[in-house]
Symmetry: C2
Subunit: 615 residues, 2 copies
Amino acid sequence: MLIFKIKFLPHNVEVFVPAGTSVVEAADLAKVDIEPTPCGRRGTCGKCLILCHDYSGIPTIVEKEKIDDTKLDQGWRLACQTAILQDMVIEVPGQTEGKLIKALLSRPKTAIEVLPTVIKYFLKVAPPTMTDQRADWDRVEDLLPDPELQQELDLTILRKLPELMRNNNFELTVVTYRGKVISVEAGDTATVGYGCAIDIGTTTVICSLHDLFTGQEITVASAFNPQRTYGADVLSRIDFSQTDDNLKKLQTLIIDQVNTLIDQVISQSGINRSDIYLISVVGNTTMQHLFLRLPAKYIATPPFVGALYAGLSFDSVDLGIKINDSGKVTLLPNVAGYVGADIVAGVLATNAYKYDAPCILIDVGTNAEIILAAHGILYACSAAAGPAFEGANICYGMRAEKGAIDRVWQEDGKLHYHVIGEVPALGFCGSGLVDVIAVLINIGIIDFSGRLLTSEEAVPIVGDILAGCLQENDDGLEFVIVKNSDFQKVSLTQRDIRQVQLAKGAILAGIRIMVKEMSIKLEDIELFNLAGSFGNVLNKKSAQVIGLIPKAVPLSKVEYAGNSAHVGAQINLLRADSEEIVNSLVKNIRYIELSDRSDFTEEFTNAMFFGECED
Amino acid sequence: MLIFKIKFLPHNVEVFVPAGTSVVEAADLAKVDIEPTPCGRRGTCGKCLILCHDYSGIPTIVEKEKIDDTKLDQGWRLACQTAILQDMVIEVPGQTEGKLIKALLSRPKTAIEVLPTVIKYFLKVAPPTMTDQRADWDRVEDLLPDPELQQELDLTILRKLPELMRNNNFELTVVTYRGKVISVEAGDTATVGYGCAIDIGTTTVICSLHDLFTGQEITVASAFNPQRTYGADVLSRIDFSQTDDNLKKLQTLIIDQVNTLIDQVISQSGINRSDIYLISVVGNTTMQHLFLRLPAKYIATPPFVGALYAGLSFDSVDLGIKINDSGKVTLLPNVAGYVGADIVAGVLATNAYKYDAPCILIDVGTNAEIILAAHGILYACSAAAGPAFEGANICYGMRAEKGAIDRVWQEDGKLHYHVIGEVPALGFCGSGLVDVIAVLINIGIIDFSGRLLTSEEAVPIVGDILAGCLQENDDGLEFVIVKNSDFQKVSLTQRDIRQVQLAKGAILAGIRIMVKEMSIKLEDIELFNLAGSFGNVLNKKSAQVIGLIPKAVPLSKVEYAGNSAHVGAQINLLRADSEEIVNSLVKNIRYIELSDRSDFTEEFTNAMFFGECED
């Protein structure tokens, strides 16, 4: 068997693979992140571009279709299509900006008051005597405050207890988690304890390290979710997870990534791994299923049912999470197949369940999860927005990373834009997309129905310069925002606008149906919380122009909720009462299945137009 | 490295071992039982006799001391002393009788009324629809009667649930153990469930198979405790267990043996292994520590403290017990280092805790565990009887197996005896020993102080024939019962009588101190229960003559309790309320440490005499 050496840049990581291995597989081996492939490595999305140095391998038909000839000549290929048949040096386009953005948003607005989930008791145990012959465990247990503590005991604790007591002058620390003894330690370690709050997003994983007793956030680390090489969205991942082997593969990827982030916060903070007793994990229903290696396939097809929604705790060793050997992993509960623990965490983080006045919490991703809460009554739904706001299915769409236009505005009769990383623009991320559509609606280039005016129609309205940006290409009309060369332009196509209309239509229809269900009006909404990585960078005004935020809600009532999923994970890490609160919360949430509503099609159709005529 | 072939007879098992391996090690490998070695394989007890065919290997100094020349010439050796330096055929003296005896005693006097510990629910689950999108687990849980059930869930259950439901028309059976879900099974298996009650004695292990729902005993199997090759009594086993490796070795031996017995009851009954959900284990404190691989060393030295006394349940897989993968192992609680779960099981089996009138339960082994109960108040103590009644430290002592004199009586001026297996006598077992001493006391050959009369002193009292049995040898006087040849005799020595006096003195002192502690008199005792393998074959009358049963207790009040430890294990297997009963029972038992009592020495000295002058 021929073996070739592959070097990945800029990582400078080398890996040896047998002939015929694909570049994505080599990247998996090298633990190198390749641009996510929404198509699940089938070559249909053309997103996993790589630059192969000094390479003239014959491109595949798919590559010829997706990559223009100049770039093919330069060595650009698709990682999922390129079989390795020689030593190679492969450059992977950089992806650092996205991490920073999301990680910065994860701090709660106000400090979380700690009600410890992990409690440690330092005990000076009476040594046994002829008049006090209680067993070793009994003399520990008799000093613990809660008589419930002894119901469950790990054999490993009992096995080490006798020596541990006798070698340490009968001084030891008992570690409990939610009232159960999970470990015993030599001497007095009662004040030391850490935990991680981990938000497993479909795209990004964030891990913050906290002092379990003060709540202090010590450090944070983040990375892309490595599962994204098997599909950018939950549906393609579920699709991939159909076989036991693949399900296991996806679990291993995320467990390894979580362990890497834990390694990172350990090295950043200098604490001991064994002092981490708990990780609190939050993700959408699919992410949590994959993390636990629960079959997720039935989430993908009607009636969209998962294996488990309850929030439970598990032993860290059973999941392969490398913290204290007796550590625990706790997860928040899900509500439905597409209303996951991440939005439940958001409810916890924003206190939505406590509000009397109607309050909306919305997290826009491929599915927009929406919560409407008032007087402790909660409705939830999931609107199938599609991946438009994440840059997929948009001609020049991309994630919020270096080269993405993230803001667009009109000034002095011209369009202005901002590019992440201050580099030449490569495309739009979601917030840029919303901005540009809003601007074009405002200046009249996009009409009420979502149609782009032709250049001729536009001239009398916006003048020659802006009208000149409207061009006809093979697929129809497009509005060119950036044009540096034939191969470096960024434009908004008619098709893109239709994608956004479908997305915002689904979301708005969801909001309208929930409001109807609660017998209130949109005007009654007192707080409109934007959560998630997209929601938090969205320009409120633009969002309202395109109708993502209903016009009946004044912008003064719209707030950025930050990364409320991560904050919810922190609360579940730091507060012993959160488990009970969320589990009862989830039981009371009324889930509305939009696809099963007879009024959905009508609401959806109405909501697709720009202008929201009826409110 | 030279490798030799060793064949063991009568097992007809062959094993290959490197040169220098000892015969006991080879026997371990071949899973062949060698006579237990009370000395822990140190060669000092001389009990592990084997016959090596066509063998002339040079005996060790120890072997020369322990085995007479004729036997050495015949090829008799000690298994622990013989290093293998050639191919060998080794005959191991047979040991089958003992198994039968104990196993037959394990049935409860009245059938145990079942209050199931394992409950199975057959559920017809509603398939999910668009109007009922509960998670798979939720729709199972909602059909279960007990709202407490969902607190703990095994990931393996959740992982298989979705397919299991869909492949079986949404019909499944949920298995619960003491209120917690432990497994889910396809279709309707609700009426099938088995469990094993296992008594791990220091010498013998008994395993009975029961229907968990009817309580019916289906079959039983027993074997020697394989740990006995590392010492016949608990002290030598604790001594051996001091290192982690040895502790692990002892655990592996007993776990393997329990698995072998489970295999046996499975093959005898034809049931499926996966239909066994629970094993209920009972043993003395040390046996339970070794079974769980808990450090036992501190039980051996003052203040005699174990790691754990509480009765808990563990996962069968964690202990390597091969039943249903989700099976459980439950153990009864211990009271003290030398008052174990076996005697607690006896209290449960005999209902001693329910009696108003004072009641004694006594299990005589190397330690005699004694319970005194009245009006729900229980005292416990452990009297260090030593191994005399088990045949150790007695010149011609042996266990109750083929060749042992188990009964002795006087008739027509002569001594008569019975030998187990109707073969030529090889020695006494405990009951034979008690009988012969009682007969010799009755006819006047042993006086009040325990002294054997000389032949001359005896002639006027018992006549020539019996007096002629009294002979002087190098170690002092002995009473010869059997003499077939120079090398085949069985006699009772003065030293043997002293050993029995020490043993029965310790036991009687224990009883007296407990009675004193409860402020009652021996005459008040309404029931005197004899438990354990020795107690159940003991002649009550002889036991009273030698003072093992106080003379103040009429024999009509003395009962055989059968193998009450095993019956207690059965109750813990079959009754869900037993765990709570015994755990509260154990908390109320007042343990008396005899070695710490200032009055023990006086009581002990008085109790050593034959005749019990003061009552």
